[in-house]
Amino acid sequence: GQQVMQIPQYQHVQEGEDFTTYCNSSTTLSNIQWYKQRPGGHPVFLIQLVKSGEVKKQKRLTFQFGEAKKNSSLHITATQTTDVGTYFCAAAIYNQGGKLIFGQGTELSVKP
């Protein structure tokens, strides 16, 4: 079936360092969503990107959608301990209704 590859699987950073996770699909996407899951918690929606080349910012988080709508990235500037968790991309394929295909996630740990 269709897959969404997300890398890296783990990232350990010192507090204040930057962090980036990447998401790639072999299929052109309708849109891509990003979720955060804290340890022991449930996924929480962060943002949705729809347009080719779209860039959105939420404070220290920058989200990008590739020109070909096949890849996306999430960049966190100057990480804080509150950023700890697993970040998932979730891809919506055309004509698949509301179904999302989740990447396997990037687990971020931040050392104070």
């Binding site: 979720y35 449930h42 996924p43 919506a92």
Partner: protein, 115 residues
């Protein structure tokens, strides 16, 4: 609004037993989903529903069944539990995609262990 609620929070089953995981949402969302999440993995779609009376298989439906008799409820049934079904199960809901706002809202999850 309570959002998406799931019961139970935890459950231990013996091999061959059956159980129903409950999911309710109070946001009047048409779309509902069941996922499983294995350690260190992403979420795999089990079943989904675009409205009352309509259900469809996701990526990993074997060993599970669902029903959708109301907009609010979307129970997941496990028949003949197997160790491979040990996982965390999340229910989610969303508005239809044509609204342009189809973010998914997740419940707190059910941690199931099959021994």
């Amino acid at each position: 609004n309570a959002g998406v609620t799931q019961t139970p929070k935890f459950r231990i089953l013996k091999i061959g037993q059956s159980m129903t995981l409950q999911c309710t949402q109070d946001m009047n969302h048409n779309y509902m989903y069941w996922y499983r999440q294995d350690p260190g993995m992403g979420l795999k779609l089990i079943y989904y529903s675009v409205g009352a009376g309509i259900t469809d298989k996701g990526e990993v439906p074997n060993g599970y069944n669902v029903s959708r008799s109301t907009t609010e409820d979307f129970p997941l049934r496990l028949e003949l539990a197997a160790p491979s079904q040990t996982s965390v199960y999340f229910c989610a809901s969303s508005l239809p995609t044509w609204t342009g706002s189809n973010e998914q809202f997740f419940g707190p999850g059910t941690r199931l262990t099959v021994l």
